[in-house]
C-alpha cells in the first residue's frame, strides 16, 4: 500500500482538565476512504479539528506526506492540501453557486486597476465541475439556497477538490439527508476517491460507512477501538464496537475523560 498522506500518531488533546483525545492514531492514504466512526461525544469533532489545524494537539505527532507537521491555523492545513467540509458547509444561500464556489479565491483577469473577477471563466468552471459531479445547474447564477442539502454538500466537496485538496475531511455529510440524497453524496465520495484523493469520512451511521469505506476506525471516549479493513468486519461487529465501547467506557467513567 502507498504511504499515508496524513499520519497522526498518538494524538492527545486536553481542554483544561478534560481529556478529549487520549492517544488516537489514524492515517489516510491516497485513493482511500477511511471512515471514522463514533457515537456523540466520542471525540470525532475534536479529532478532525486537530487534523485541520483548528486545535493544536496537546501531545502526539502529525506527519504530512512523511514529514512532521504542525498546523498553526486552518489556513495552514488548507494550503498543505487538507480541506474540511464542515456540517454548515460554509455556503451562503443568497449567493449564486459560482460566487460561492469561488468565494475568497476568485479568478481574475486584467491588470492593475482593471483587475477584475473573471465571471465568465468562473461560471464555465462551476458548471463544468458540477456536471462532473452529476449535478446539472439551471444556471451558474442559481442561488445556493435553491439547492437541496445533498447538492449543497456536493458543491462544497467539488469546491474543495477543485482547489487541490489531497485529503478531504467530511464531517457527517449524510447526517441530515434523505435516502436519495445520501446515496448521491456517497456516489460523490466514490468519484472523488477515484481521483486519487484521500477521504476521511466521519459518520455515526454504520451502513453509510460500509457503503463506501475502505477502512474503519472506531473512536470512543477519546480512544480508538481499532482499525478494520473492508471485508474483515461485519456491520454487526462495527455496531457492537461502537456500542460495546460505550459500556466499557462507562465502567471507566469515574476516571473522567469524556468530552
Amino acid at each position: 500500500m502507498s504511504e499515508p498522506i496524513v499520519h497522526m500518531e498518538n494524538i492527545e488533546k486536553h481542554f483544561g482538565n478534560v481529556i478529549a483525545l487520549a492517544g488516537v492514531s489514524f492515517d489516510v492514504r491516497a485513493s482511500e476512504c477511511h471512515c471514522l466512526l463514533g457515537d456523540n461525544g466520542a471525540g470525532k469533532s475534536t479529532f478532525i479539528k486537530t487534523m485541520s489545524g483548528v486545535h493544536k494537539p496537546t501531545a502526539g505527532e502529525i506527519f504530512f506526506e512523511g514529514k512532521p507537521m504542525s498546523f498553526g491555523s486552518p489556513r495552514d492545513s488548507m494550503e498543505a492540501g487538507i480541506a474540511t467540509v464542515y456540517q454548515d458547509l460554509a455556503m451562503i444561500p443568497l449567493m449564486s453557486v459560482t460566487r460561492n464556489f469561488f468565494m475568497g479565491r476568485e479568478p481574475t483577469k486584467g491588470r492593475g486597476l482593471l483587475k477584475r473577477f473573471d465571471t465568465e471563466e468562473a461560471n464555465k468552471i462551476t458548471v463544468e465541475e458540477m456536471r462532473k459531479m452529476g449535478i446539472n445547474l439551471r444556471g451558474p447564477d442559481q442561488a445556493v439556497g435553491t439547492l437541496s442539502g445533498g447538492e449543497r454538500q456536493t458543491v462544497a466537496i467539488s469546491r474543495a477538490v477543485y482547489f487541490g485538496a489531497k485529503v478531504l475531511i467530511l464531517d457527517e455529510p449524510t447526517s441530515a439527508l434523505g435516502v436519495r440524497q445520501t446515496s448521491n453524496v456517497l456516489a460523490t465520495i466514490d468519484r472523488v476517491r477515484n481521483q486519487g484523493i484521500g477521504i476521511v469520512f466521519i459518520t455515526h451511521n454504520v451502513r453509510h460507512a460500509l457503503a463506501v469505506g475502505d477502512r474503519f476506525t472506531v473512536l470512543n471516549r477519546g480512544k480508538t477501538l481499532g482499525t478494520a479493513k473492508k471485508g474483515e468486519i461485519t456491520p454487526e461487529e462495527l455496531q457492537d464496537l461502537m456500542a460495546g465501547g460505550q459500556e466499557m467506557a462507562q465502567l471507566e467513567g469515574s476516571l473522567g475523560g469524556t468530552v
Binding site: 460566487r99 468565494m103 473577477f117 456536471r131 435553491t146
Partner: protein, 368 residues
Amino acid sequence: MATEATAVTDERIKDETFFARMMKKPELGAIAGVILVTVFFLFTADSAMFTLAGFMNFMSPAAQLGILAIGAALLMIGGEFDLSVGSMVAFFGLFFGACVVTFGVPLIIAIPATFVFAGIVGAINGQIVLRTGLPSFIVTLAFLFIFRGLSLVGLKWATGGSTQLRGVRDAVEGDFLAPFFSGDAFPGFFTMLANMDLIDKFKNGTPKVQGIPVEILWFVLVALLATYVLLKTPVGNWIFASGGDANAASNSGVPVRNVKLGLFMLTAFCATLVAIITVLDSGSTDARRGFQKEFEAIIAAVIGGCLLTGGYGSAIGAFFGSIIFGMVLIGLTYTQIDQDWYLVFLGGMLLIAVLFNNMIRKRVTGER
C-alpha cells in the same frame, strides 16, 4: 443512482420565463418605482417638471442623497449599518469649511485633508463595531448624536456663536478645483445647444439650463463604480459574502474584517463628497446639513433591493431609489398636492419595499 455525469436536463425544472428572471434582479423594485412615480407625475404635475430644467431640478437632490445611499447600500450588503452618515455630512462640512475659511487652506490641500479625516472617523466607527461585536445599528446611532453635537459646538467655536460658517465662496474664488465640486459642468456645450435651438433659452440667448450640476455627474460616477466593484471584482464577491454569512466567508478565506472596515470608510467618504459639494454650492457650512439623511439613504437602499439582513442588494437599485426620492420631493411642488405628503410617501415606500424585498428573497433562495 446518478453516478454517471450526464448532460441531460432535469425534467422537473421548467424554463424560466422572462418575468421570473427579472423578478430575481434586486434593482427591479426601484426601477418599477421610478416608472410608477413618473406616470403619477405625468398625470398630476405641471408639464414643466419634465423639461430639461425640471429634470435637473429633481436630479440635484436625488444626486446628493444618492451618493450617500450608494455608500449605505454597499455597507448594508456587507451586513452593517451606518446611521451616522447624515451627521457626518455636517461634521465633515464643518471640517472642510474651517479648513477653507478659518485657516485659508487651498482646496488642493483642504479636500484631501477632509477625506483623510473622514477615513479616520469611518475607521473608528468600524473598529468599534468589529472589536466589540456590538450591532452597528447601536454604535452608529451613538455617533449620529455625537457628530451632530460636535458640529454644533465646533461651528459655534469657529464662528463665535453662530451655527453657520459663511464666506466659503469668497475663500475658494478662482481655485482651479472648485468647478469639479460646484456649479454646472459643460456650460459651453449647453450654450452651443441653445444657439442651435436644441434646448430652451431665455430671451437674451442664454440657455435655461446652463450645464449639468456636478453632483449629478458624481452621482452617476459613484453608481457606476460601485456597481462595477460589486459585480465584477473579487472585492464585490467578498462584500456579498461578508454580509451573507460572515463566519462562512471567513472560513473560506474572505478577509471579512477588512472588507467591513473598508465599507465603513467608504460610507464616510461618500458623506465627505456630499459635504464638500453642498458646502461649495451653498457657500456656507451649517450644523443642520444632512439632517435625517441617514434614514433617507437607508430607505433608498432598501427601495433599491438591499436586505436589512445583508448579503443581497444592488448599487444601481440605490441609484434609482434615490431618483424616486428626488422626483417626489421636487415633483410635489409642481402639483397642487400639499408638500408634507412627502413624509407619508417616505414611510409608505419603505413599507412596500421591505415587503417586496422579503418576497424576492424567498424567491431567490427558493424558500417555501
